[in-house]
């Protein structure tokens, strides 16, 4: 498998700020790669390093085997879908989409055709004559996508492209993006701070914090076996069990993670672990009820199916879970 993007201990510092700090990364061709992390963790900076808007302070970047440093953005076969779309307000939708072809000198008729095809692909046929200001957020997002895709880039960078959309639209776009990527086979590098988005869409996920990659792996691994406390906290709302509690459960680790949906409110069955506590809170989440159980001061969240009855606040309960659902973590 060809390597699309390679980061070899890449750093990017702004004065004292280490926006990206010794990152190693290798993205395979055709992969849907997600970068997940809180605000300010360096995701955008990584993307800008790939696009060529930033140069690494240290380290080396290769794109499809070629050294990327010193190649200006306009000479990279990498396109970006910007977070706020960055559509040209003075151009029509068609001209926006055809922009990349125009600056490459493609003839008027040919680029009009290509742009219309691209618009059709993102399900906006016939919108060509409008201005960006006349479109809704979701539509603009699609135009930005079409504008990038019409250039047939080898890598497509997407910086939180769905951040500004509302939930409904977002779910819809997630599906569309995913199937588009499958059908085109282009390498997607996708930045988000929404773990649900990353988990459902990506082939692999890199979790960033403070400029560094905390964990890099398959979505299931990142979700189920967080390597650090940060990942456990950030990816899904895991319960973090302290060393003391771990010991009580017979686990020798300074921290362990336990997913709410792995916990049941029921006496322990065969080989399962159990703890007892009191119900401290409950809320209806639609598909599930979230019940918070206080176990000697540690609050453990339980996701209980909506069909099950919810114990009253203050009532004593026993919670149980399988030993394999308890994941030891590093200290960081």
């Amino acid at each position: 498998m060809t390597t699309a993007v390679l980061f070899d201990t890449v750093s990017r510092h702004f004065g004292a700020v280490r926006a990206v700090d010794r990152v190693n990364l290798s993205i395979a061709e055709g992969e849907f790669f997600a970068m997940l992390g809180p605000s300010g963790s360096g995701k955008t900076t990584c993307l800008r390093l790939m696009a060529g808007f930033e140069q690494p302070t240290n380290g080396h970047i290769e794109i499809f085997g070629e050294t990327a440093e010193g190649v200006p953005p306009y000479r990279r076969s990498v396109n970006t879908v910007f977070q706020d779309y960055a559509l040209f307000p003075h151009l029509s939708i068609l001209d926006n989409v055809a922009y990349g072809l125009m600056v490459k000198g493609v003839g008027r008729e040919e680029r009009r055709k290509a742009a219309e095809d691209a618009l059709a692909m993102v399900k906006l046929p016939g919108y060509g004559t409008r201005r960006p200001g006349q479109l809704s957020g979701g539509q603009r997002q699609r135009v930005a996508l079409a504008r990038a895709l019409v250039n047939k880039p080898k890598v497509l960078l997407l910086d939180e492209p769905l951040g500004a959309l509302d939930l409904k639209l977002r779910e819809q776009m997630q599906e569309e993006l995913k199937s588009l990527q499958k059908s085109l086979g282009i390498t997607f590098v996708f930045v988000t701070h929404d773990q649900g988005e990353a988990l459902s869409m990506a082939d692999r996920i890199a979790v960033f914090n403070e400029g560094r990659i905390q964990q890099l792996g398959l979505p299931e691994d990142v979700y189920n076996q967080p390597k650090t406390r940060f990942v456990a906290d950030f990816v899904g709302s895991s319960n973090v069990l302290s060393a003391k509690l771990c010991q009580r459960l017979g686990l020798n680790a300074s921290f362990a993670s336990l997913r709410p949906e792995a916990v049941a409110i029921a006496p322990a069955a065969d080989g399962a672990l159990s703890l007892s506590g009191t119900v401290a809170g409950r809320s209806f989440l639609g598909a599930t009820n979230r019940i918070v159980v206080d176990v000697d001061g540690t609050r453990i969240a339980v996701a209980s199916p909506a069909a099950q009855s919810v114990p009253a606040i203050g009532s004593p309960v026993t919670i149980s879970f399988a030993a394999r659902d308890l994941h030891p973590m590093e200290d960081a």
Binding site: F14, R48, F53, E54
Partner: protein
Amino acid sequence: MRSEKSNRAPLGLKIAAAAGLAFMHVPILLIFLYAFTTEEKTYQFPPPGLTTQWFAVAWSRPDVWAALTLSVKVAAIATGAALILGTLCAAAISQTRFFGRETVSLLVILPIALPGIITGIALRSAFSMADIPFSFWTIVLGHATFCIVVVYNNAVARFRRISGSLIEASMDLGADGFQTFRYVILPNIGTALLAGGMLAFALSFDEVIVTTFTAGQQSTLPIWMLEELIRPRQRPVTNVVAMIVVIVTFLPILGAYYLTRDGDQIAGAGK
């Protein structure tokens, strides 16, 4: 966005910008130079010698002081009037919607968009038709007319930046219209008004075209300069006065810059 701006400018751009700025400043330097020349009748170049005597001469000439005081008075009063009218207008335009709003905003811009000579001659003939004798007040009237737009522009820009919900938040918390103006609007547009006021003052202070038409026998500083430049006695005195005015306006301009800039940042936080 951040990094693009921290990039270095292309050389060609730097040269073009530097050349443009040089073009703008060489004549100013010349004015400064001739404030020190020893030759008083002609502007011989290069000056035969340098002296500071003209500063003393300018200081002791009563006509300089008379023109200066008149200009300061006119500019102060015109600025005051412009501040009030410009703010009212900006408030009405930006806080309400009404029929003819566009027309009003055009009307405000008109006195500066039409050549000054038209404003001047229109006011002049109106004054003489209405039998208003030319006086200090006719000068003020003329100046205030085109100063309004400067204040208005600054105030409107700031009003636009104040998030609309700020005013609603104030009302929501129990402040009536006047309290909202006093405690929320005024502090937020204050710096913009100050900046607009300073620009208006400077504009009035240097105005000559409208003034020639609306002034009677009084001469403001620019009119005095016009007289002096055409019928010179002690030519360098004009340069001394011009130079001092430049130096004295330096601080307010810098102040206006920092005021509007910081103000934008503050107001931007509520956006």
